[in-house]
Amino acid sequence: MNEDRGLAPRELKWCVGKFVYARGASKPLHFMELKNFIIEDATDYSHLFYLRGLRSRHSGRGPIDEELKRWMEGTAVKPLGEVVSHVLASVNSPRRSIVEYYPGVGLTVEYVKLIFQEHQAPSEKASGAIVSYEGRGPANLKNQFLVLQADQDIDVQYSSDLRPALSGTDVVTVINLNQSIRYDVDSQISLESFLESSGGPKVLALRVTSSDENVWHMTVKGRPIMLPALGEVFDVCKQFGSHWNFRFIERFDAGFFLPMSGAPTGLLLAYDARRDWPLKGYNKG
């Protein structure tokens, strides 16, 4: 590894794929490039069906792939699913819904369903937590989302309209900018305009820098991205509501960005339940 991260080289050679080494060797004997559906999609699909298997009791009890388990534990799915469930529980309505911007394959709601199933009577359906789930993201991911989220008990929709929508108090809006980075798409969301126009409860997940200022980073996919400063996000959120709660996970999945000198990156989770609704691990920022 490069010892001096302060003098990061400007030019790097890169590749992504399967490396085969003779045991103990440092030079690969063989290399096979991997396509995106083997990298991002494979892990998301595996994660999704693992959670669904736990819920449907078709699987999840047997031995699980250790590599996959470690990967799943390092993702934002569990902490995000937990905070979305928490906010959902604050909604006093039988018609609770979730609208998620950049939902990927829908892991957040899969985890929410699992949490609700674990806390309800066996006779109730896992989907009882919500009546509808709408994903909003790039048009090319629509079919993937709809096929994987097809659910007889919930109204599932997908829209490529990424403009902020007026939402009712029984709709929890999830702005999952962590997923937009992983899926290598440009986020077209302005946090300010979102917070300004959305009236219902909200949950945010986004990568930030712990620096005092916004900082450019580059993902392993080669995309430069400006990470907002943690303090700046606090300020923007508080400008549009007084019930925000925050949790910062420092160095979360830090390897997804090419190493640079300066303050560490991390994952910021935040929620506004439109009233005081505390959750352990979160603070007022």
């Binding site: 790097l12 590749c15 992504v16 004997l29 595996s46 078709h58």
Partner: protein, 328 residues
Amino acid sequence: MNIFKLRKFDPAPLSASGQFDSGTTADKGLIALDIQSKYLFVDESGNTYHEYFVPGTPDVQNCGGYVDKVIQYRDPALVKYIREAGIKSEVFAKSPFPILATRSPRLDLLLYALMLELVARQGIERVSLLDHGCTVGEHYDLLDIMLRAGSNDRATAFDLLSYYGLDKSAMLLSIAKLLHAQAQPEHFNLIQAEGSDFPFSRQQFDLSLSVGVVNHTAWPIQALEKILAATRYACVLALWVTADDDGFWAINHSSVPQYFFSISDLRRILQNRGEGRFYSTEFVVETEASQLRSYVGIGEEKLRTLGSYHLVFSTLRELPFEAEELLF
């Protein structure tokens, strides 16, 4: 703004000859291999600057590849295209959906034609099918789409197929079940077993299918013999072969031994079966395959002696599609 300039590179280019060109056998244990799936970044001096690891086990990567097929098959636009353009190989080959031109759908077309043949001429009401190495059951999906499209929705896989999917991966079988929750359990059977270690009785299935899975079972020749013995009418195969007189063992990118059948292997297998013939619908030389990097330590010259057949073993008098009989 501190941004890197990135240039793609190949850390282990394919060479004319490879370390394992002369073949290896599963029992020699020539070399221990470590496999990593990752992003690798190297600086100007050739030193590793950064690595980012992703899960690389075959279960996870197969999940990516095969669930992705189901997603593509279930695309309403693809279904509409098949309904309007028809169920023909030339339609699949020229479709705006690249997946239809790939190997699996081409083999599914053969299965579909065989199913219709059995229903029409043999009077079979529900065709039993062994899907050897079924992963997440993606063949079931495309067969269902074709059956619906070809019958104005009068026929479906739900009411025409008795499906038996066999795979060694508990994880993939669990996903297969979740993806096909609507199928009747008594006609959507999943069996966890290694590909050469299964208990089916003689001619238990009307049809069978194995897309390359026979080649990387523990005992490939026995596996193929058992599949053919369990098949009554026809078996659709993608089978990797060598031009050499003897079969050839390679190691694939997942460190799994893969056996290339020789023609004499196929001749013996056919003799042991006692009835039926092999027909070829297609042959692809390995150097023209979409993925040249499937095998560790195999050079380009050796790859030219390897290839894959789309084969049909059949006991039927006639096949419902064009195919060339393999005469040994």
